[in-house]
Symmetry: C2
Subunit: 255 residues, 2 copies
């Protein structure tokens, strides 16, 4: 088994990076080999795992440009079983550099071919848009995990994200599936409850049972360069991502 | 006076749209004429002001393509003194359509020339990126108002946003200034206090005195298609945006 999942949603600030970093760590904690691909020029997944920008040598930018191999950029993180293909802000110009190329949409898929055999899970953190880089992630992935903040603007954008996925499935990647919708920053407000109910009523089994509560420890952990499981394993946010990992492993017939 | 402000930050979910909608409404409530330009294909500012996607006729997309005039797309909102240039998701393809044009960066600036005389304030809501559309906003604007969520990933991205601004000022728009940094979703956690202190220590007077507290009413209002002042004028979020408007008007020598 080697599952490649894109963590994507064009709405900003819905916990894509928080999910990518903490789910990858949870898989590694369960003994699976995991690669996190930071496809966002903001490089938040890179710093969230404790790797400073000045420490990044070869990044995904050079690999997508064809100037380096994927294995040249991969680094070991502080989490056993979790490796990272780091990002840097130059990746933002990939959008312009690559867009004239006719096969620019296939770049990441070809790059990740060589890695599939070495990892049980490959997670791709995406930037908040529907542009070339997220497009590459959906073409390369087996499924899309869509983090959804339980608020109005995020709910409003869900149908566009879903249409984008269907479009890629039809035109570029027939194996692509909606791997699941993950409710994030869930709290006890009426708004959060209302949105959660709406989403479960509309998307049914496509919504993970596990949901991520609003938990300040999740926002604190990145400032220490650590995933939540290493920052505070007793936190509700840590337990929630471990529960999500367990649900996914059960779905895949692993444990 | 006609001040054009871009509400921009490439970090997602930091309250760009919430600030654009509620600051524009606060200016209108104080008797000033205001235009809100929704430059985000997500069209959250459009729906946040109660305009459904199916009600949008000509949008900013057609105007930037050159198929319509700005005045053809402008609609009156439910707020007296506040008009809107609405967005729709087709705007996402402007990135590709316009990018081959040598003057694609100047489009919005030229489009807004005709409007400057009719409004005291023009606010431009931007998508979470540093791509062509936000670039257009910075070229067209007199100043950039940068909403900043008081959390780690948002703080990390601030220096890139500032570099981007300096770059545009040097190369395209010498009048562009950092109009101010607005602290948003401020709460009583150590993280929020820590980030607020760091930002005020680093950016000093460039940080507005007014700050926006985390207030559930701000997240509820968009689901009713209303700005906070019309949804719940007594809410802390409403008072905060009125205080921000007052601070800006005082800075401009108006009141
Ligand atoms: N469950 C949670 N509880 C509390 N804070 C959270 C939670 N999940 C994420 N956060 C915080 O909310 C902010 C947004 O999360 P994050 O940056 O992961 O979202 P994103 O979707 O990756 O954003 P972008 O669109 O900019 O890439 C961050 O400051 C993060 O630390
Ligand atoms: N002060 C606040 N208190 C509570 N919720 C808030 C506050 N400001 C914004 N929100 C909510 O937080 C979410 C993010 O805000 P918003 O959508 O305005 O950010 P944005 O920067 O425009 O996002 P994007 O990067 O996707 O354009 C929204 O659901 C909004 O309703
Ligand atoms: Mg992110
Ligand atoms: Mg927005």
């Amino acid at each position: 088994l080697s599952r490649t999942l894109a963590i994507a949603n064009q709405k900003g600030g819905v916990a894509k990076t928080t999910t990518a970093v903490n789910l990858a760590t949870a898989f590694a904690a369960c003994g699976f080999e995991c690669l996190l691909v930071d496809l966002d020029p903001q490089a938040n997944a890179t710093s969230g795992l404790g790797i400073e920008q000045r420490e990044v040598g070869i990044s995904l930018y050079e690999v997508l440009q064809g100037d380096a191999e994927l294995k040249d950029c991969i680094v070991q993180t502080a989490v056993p079983g979790l490796q990272l293909a780091p990002s840097r802000s130059a990746l933002a110009s990939a959008q312009i550099d690559l867009s004239s190329d006719k096969d620019s949409i296939d770049r990441l898929r070809r790059v990740l071919q060589s890695a599939k055999g070495n990892y049980d899970f490959i997670l791709i953190d995406c930037q908040p848009s529907l542009s070339l880089l997220p497009l590459n992630a959906l073409v390369a992935a087996d499924g899309v995990l869509v983090p959804l903040q339980t608020e109005y603007f995020a709910l409003e954008g869900l149908s566009r994200m879903y249409d984008f996925l269907l479009d890629i499935k039809r035109s570029r990647n027939p194996d692509l599936s909606l791997y699941g919708i993950l409710l994030t920053m869930v709290d006890h407000t009426n708004l959060s409850k209302q949105v959660s109910e709406d989403v479960r009523a509309t998307f049914g089994a496509a919504v993970f049972e596990a949901e991520i509560p609003r938990n300040i420890k999740l926002a604190e952990a990145p400032s220490h360069g650590k995933p939540i499981i290493m920052y505070d394993r007793s936190a509700s946010g840590a337990k929630a991502y471990l529960a999500l990992a367990a649900e996914i492993l059960a779905k895949e017939g692993l444990s």
